[in-house]
Symmetry: C2
Subunit: 403 residues, 2 copies
């Protein structure tokens, strides 16, 4: 993995670097609240990992459909990794996500899929009381009981929640569902390398050991540089960070980044607005704006060198494309965009990995988590709270009560 | 359909309204270039519509998989409508999109799907030479020839392109593929109510007549108000328009809006940056930023009253939710968010339709097309060109030549 900051055209002072480096050390000091995620690449090893893998294989052995109910950090990380690694794997269940909305039509599709396939259900919620997943879980639990009868359904439902008393923990007691707990000091958006992300990723058939090894092997040198560059660009009037990538498989990695950035630094009237664009598609949609619209953004592009699948361009296309590989053209388009955008005055940061596999995705996750936490600290906000999501929840409850 | 602008808290002057009204009339005057789309709700009727429906039914009769190759406006509109209307319909083919990227792994999935199911292929490109769809089409055309043999494959490939000479038109001549042409005066992002959108939508099994009737029945009164409000918010420092909706089915409607706004007004250093957030999911991702982050955005929320499917909340959830309908809670969350956001100082525009069906989606499409064209004219830019997407294309070609 390497980072190219040359097209960001910022100059990082020694004082800023020192400040960021101090914050980086603070994250690793073990004295800061909610930093349990920092140690996951090393702590989630040996016995714990074996147990997760064993549960995952057990689940994979008894279903073709694995429904994961969760929202925010209990959902986006696993989906980001599974999609990035190209989704369904031979011999492993299809992982379907639910509980991240209250759209009846979406839940209906999940219930329809259940009817046709052997199913296991997993609900993930640290508080155990978040409305959207709780409602979906309750409806899907009833469907599981109806499909399998209580005795068999109990062996097919898995609960991942916090240790404190909550509706999900009560169900664990009542029905004896298999369960894992989410440590108190790991927040949702930093939880993908914990049980929260690892179980669904392992069920889907991916190598969670390599994911963690990738994270553990991350070189620390560029984290601070990226965090500092982000702050300087923001101070220079760049109010939007646009994450871009030339693979449809990285779409949910972009969504995961949006949460990581939006919830971590979007407070006290501060923070960069996170957006993600999936190229080539969005070059033919928002590309015009990027090149010639209101220049209030910078671009962070995630590149990969080796593709997961490829095709030869047929002769009928003619020169210069015929006989080349499709992803070779994709790489040229990528380089062409970096050149056009940076020449057009857009600050472009490139984060480049060898290929999109478990090891490299692990590195990317940990890189963005650490640099984002440091960015928030440089902005002077608490990276680990999200006080601004309570208002609408209270309003919702009041409105439901008045129905 | 109604629009609530009260939470945008702007005051539209008579002069601005008059200016916008002048532009609206200009769009309908028949004297302005590239405004062929304005008449589509009335022009795409009778014989033309019958012919499209007939072709669509013929396609639906001979395949289970309909692959549509296109990018930008040749793709997003049809996908937006099909997804909004809840996707796959009983007895109709699954519509799969390709050619909007150069991701080998994505094309591989399309080719795999082809192997298992009776397939028809449709390529949509006005210029007939856009790189991404041309490459995907060429590869998939070879796959079709390999699967069916040339004689049968020819009856299963459909081409929608402009009238001028181009590689696709040459293939129409060479192989005798069924074809439709895209009128010169309709640009991609305004083409969903033309053959470009209508054929895939009809193949998927939706009522294109109602889609057009909805558009034709749009009341003109709110278009100008919305366009003016957008300009005033932008002048007041709101640089991002965040489109939001409480249905996963509207996700691609959001993507379609991003292109419509980004390409129409993002030029000459102007324009609002378009983003879309799918609630509830993104309330638990970017919701924190919206409520307490850097306040440089306004929100345009698309609401619907009646849901496409619904569920009763089980008793185990307890008061006040048990026994209520899931989408009732979704509506309360929607109202709760409008209240929390507008009380938090975010300008919120609400666009509300009775339900997400063909008629109302037709209205929404036409509403946003017209108001966006007027917005661009108020900004002083040409709504119908996209000069900023040429640089990266030239770079790409040069890089491919040097491989």
């Amino acid at each position: 993995m390497y980072i190219d900051l040359s097209n960001a055209k910022t100059t990082i002072s020694q004082a800023l670097t020192d400040q960021a480096e101090t914050y980086r050390k603070q994250l690793f000091s073990g004295t800061m609240e909610n930093t349990g995620w920092v140690d996951l690449p090393w702590n989630m090893a040996g016995d714990i990992l074996d147990r997760i893998q064993q549960t995952a294989d057990e689940i994979a052995g008894k279903c073709r459909l694995f429904i994961v109910v969760g929202i925010g950090g209990s959902y986006l990380g696993a989906r980001a990794v599974i999609d990035a690694l190209n989704g369904d794997q031979p011999g492993r269940p299809h992982v379907m996500f639910a509980g991240y909305n209250m759209t009846g039509a979406h839940l209906d599709k999940v219930v329809e899929a259940m009817k046709e396939q052997a199913t296991c259900l997993c609900v993930i919620s640290k508080s155990g009381s978040t409305l959207e997943p709780l409602l979906a879980y309750s409806i899907l639990k009833e469907e599981m009981f109806a499909k399998y009868g209580e005795k068999e359904a109990k062996k097919r439902i898995y609960v991942i929640t916090g240790l404190q008393d909550n509706p999900l923990r009560q169900d664990i007691e009542k029905y004896g569902f298999s369960s894992y707990y989410i440590p108190e000091n790991i927040g949702g958006r930093f939880s993908v390398l914990s049980i929260v992300g690892l179980l669904p990723i392992a069920v889907a058939g991916f190598n969670i050991r390599q994911l963690l090894q990738g994270a553990a092997s991350l070189s620390m040198e560029h984290i601070v540089d990226y965090a500092c560059t982000r702050i300087l660009l923001q101070q220079g009037g760049k109010d939007i960070e646009v994450f871009t990538y030339f693979s449809t498989n990285l779409r949910f990695f972009g969504e995961w980044l949006k949460q990581l950035v939006g919830e971590t630094e979007g407070k006290d009237g501060k923070g960069v607005f996170p957006a993600c664009l999936c190229f080539s598609r969005d070059l033919h949609a928002v590309g015009q704006f990027l090149q010639q619209g209101h220049q209030i953004f910078y671009e962070t592009m995630i590149q990969y060198k080796r593709a997961q699948a490829d095709f030869v361009i047929p002769d009928c296309v003619g020169e210069p494309f015929a006989g080349k590989m499709l992803e070779q053209i994709n790489r040229c388009s990528e380089a062409g965009v970096v050149k056009a955008h940076s020449e057009g005055g857009i600050p472009v940061i490139v984060v480049n990995v060898e290929q999109v596999d478990e090891y490299n995705i692990g590195q990317l996750i940990y890189f963005f988590e650490l640099s984002e936490a440091i960015s928030a600290m440089l902005l002077g906000v608490n990276p680990f709270d999200q006080p601004g999501v309570e208002n609408y929840k209270m309003n919702t409850k009041r409105l439901v009560e008045s129905l």
